[in-house]
């Protein structure tokens, strides 16, 4: 018997995607993989925003925030990829473990 989909379902999905995103960022050595992890984390937050918007405030403000986040994520992805390009130009790889020249 499937219960009605409530807020907690959104939150559980969001938590799962967030965890997967963090796990992705923590384990991948490929820069693109890390970027994908970041996108997952951002979108899990989006799901949260949309969920709260629907069940708590009842207005569209959360959804508008989600649209902003998508926008910023796009810009951030563009920046990140530009950084990767330069990184590749310098070290001929996009393995982020190679970029530890500034370690303490």
């Amino acid at each position: 018997m499937l219960a009605t989909i409530g807020l907690q379902h959104y939150l559980i999905l969001s938590a799962l995607i967030f965890s997967l995103g963090v796990l992705c960022m923590a384990t991948k050595r490929n820069a693109i993989g890390i970027l994908i992890g970041v996108e997952l984390v951002l979108n899990s937050a989006n799901i949260n925003l949309v969920g709260f918007s629907k069940y708590q405030t009842g207005k569209g403000d959360g959804q508008i925030f989600a649209v902003f986040v998508i926008l910023l994520a796009a810009a951030e992805a563009a920046l990140a990829i530009a950084i990767f390009m330069n990184f590749y130009n310098n070290v001929r790889t996009i393995d982020v473990d190679r970029g530890d020249e500034l370690r303490g």
Partner: protein, 831 residues
Amino acid sequence: MNHQFEICLALGVVVPLISFAILVFFGANPPFGKPRAAYLAFAAIATSCVLSSYVLINWYGLSVAERTELTENAFRYHWADFGNISIDVGVKLDSLTVIMYFMVTFIASCIHAFSIGYMSGHSDEVGGKCKYHRFFAYFGLFSFSMLGLVISSSLLFLFIFWELVGLCSYLLIGFYFHEKYASDAGMKAFITNRVGDFGFIVGLALVVLYTGTFDLDAAAASFAEQYHTGTGIFAESISLFGWHVSGMTLATLMGIGLFCGAMGKSAQFPLHVWLPDAMAGPTPVSALIHAATMVAAGVYLVARVFRLLTPDAQMFIAVIGCITLTITALIAIVQTDIKKILAYSTLSQLGYMVFGMGVGAWTAALFHLMTHAFFKAMLFLGSGQVIEGCHHEKNIMKMGGLSRKMPWTGRTFLVGVLAIAGFGIPWLHIGDIKFGLGGFFSKDEILAVAYERAFNMGGDGHGESHESGGTHGENEDHAAPVHGDGHAMANVAEGVQLASADTNASALLAAQSAMASSESGDAHHAEHGRADKMKIAGTLPSLPKWMFWLPIFIAYVTPFYMMRCYWLTFRGTPRDHHVHDHAHEIPWMWVPLVILAVGTLVCSYMLFRPMIADAGGVATHAAGIVAIDGEAHSWEDTSGQVMLTVTHGSGMDNPHNALALIVGFSWLIGMGLAWLIYRNGPALAGRIKDSVPGLALVHHALEQKLYFDHVYNYALVGGTKAFGKLMGAADGVLDFVVDAVAYLFRGIGVFAGRQLDMGVEKRDIGLVDNIANFLAWITYMTGTGLRRPQNGRIRTYVLLTAGAAGIALLFVLFWPHSSDAAEVLSATAQP
């Protein structure tokens, strides 16, 4: 209103300043450099001279009434307000300004021209430090300051320019600053002037305090009003150090204070010591600044503030002038340095001017200033020519016979000697033309006034006349003021003009009638004028007899020492063949001399009666300054007290037969005596000195300049040094205290250092070091610890961030009294 005269005069002041500004910054290098810097300076002063000629010619083209109107309506720029005192900038436009301005620019132009040649041999010393252009830059600054002084309408600006000419004098005396005597002389001049200027400032402060204005005319008007009504300064009664000072005394002190400035600048006793030393400067400087213009500024100042002087202050001035002219003329007799002789003769002539001012011979003193400026500038340039031609030899004992080597210099020098000696022939005249050089007339005018003051003043009527003098509205009774002047009929003629222009001055009308009557020989009217004069005479204290006889005596001494100087330098046989063989006249440098000589000759002709009566020529008015502008008679106009009392008819014809007899041939006797003694060189003079008992002693005293320098050196310089030593000792005590405190704290520091900190070399770490090291250790450990996580791996950072977030979440969820967030979370969990 037409302001063209003021604009021209102001422009003429600024042009030399521009020349100074250009030369002082860019004068050393091309496009200026050695000869061209001088051309620029000359062009500047020549421009001023042309402007002043334009003003002079047009000024005397106007009628007296028009001139008066221009003077009264002169432009004033409101500059600033100090409390109630408003300070205006403007040109004092009157005949004195115009004629003085012309005199300064004309003589300065001649001397600039002379300096072009002279300085080319006297600069570029000490590795080129005494730069040629620097000299001309200073000359420009001096011309600017001197002309500014002449045109200033306010005492404040007069004072500012006064100080500026003092500065220029200092700079130019010390032009050869690498020589100790020159820099010392500069400092001596500057410091001596400071003494006088202190009095000037005190006088200035009193003027402003009681009249509330710096403006010359307004101050004089206010002062006369105060005298008349017995208010202001005359109502003052103060007690100073237990000494009661009445208002009249205070007014006298004010006048003496102002005169102190003149004492410094015009080098009057006892501040005369700087002028002979000032000859350390280049000779053109001596000619321009220390003979013709700047030193005359003191006399000019007295002339300008004449209306602020009480009879007592005038008497003080006369005494100072009398002392100065006597002692300096005596010292001049024994000097052997050609420039020193001229310097002492300048002092003596300045003494005459100041004496003339003091006895009330306003016109005569200024006339003497003008004539003296011409011939003394010429004499100095002549001496410069001699010094240059003889390779810097200044001792006249080594000269002789130079007139063959430098004929033009000799001729012009002789003209100067005759002028200063007062060459002229009394009683001789062709029609109205009388024979004599400027010095003859100007000196006799001064002496004539002194004569009247000393002999023709009734002492008995003093009190009575004074009473009436102080009363308003009785001008008719005691009115016959006439401006000084024995032989100068200038004033007669001008007085007539003025009287017709100024109907208010009943006094002047009376004077006119007296003059006219004596002129026409009408016995009755002459008697009338005489009676009037006697009545007025009572208001002024009569002059002590010695103050008449001393200047008379010096009138015989002056030709003597000038002839001695001329003869030993230019005539006779050469005494030093080395000097004589090398002597030469520098081509073209005698041209300014000749121009000045012509000026000297013309100056005397200024007095010729027809020219004055016609009031047409430029020259005539030099003598008539006073009468035209009423500078000198305003006191009696406004206050009822008569300052100038002497009525002279037609010069030597009338009451001056006696004077002409006494002093008319002094030039002949003085010069003749000098010729008798010195015609064969100085040997005879030496024999006379040794043979007459006591004369050697006097000679020695005069050679030592009457010990003024010694006394000042011991009393003032020595006193200052002793005071300095005393202060030095006091300073030592203070130093001891300060040092003791410093030692104390140093001791405490060392002790504390020992206890707390053993220092590095002892290898024993103290408290301070331990604290510092501990702090450093903490910092180091913190840094090392924090360094670990910064390993540059993104995964580590992500894990750390996630871990931190997880911890934060746990904290939010399970902390007792948790935040709203936990409640919201739990609330949403169970909707």
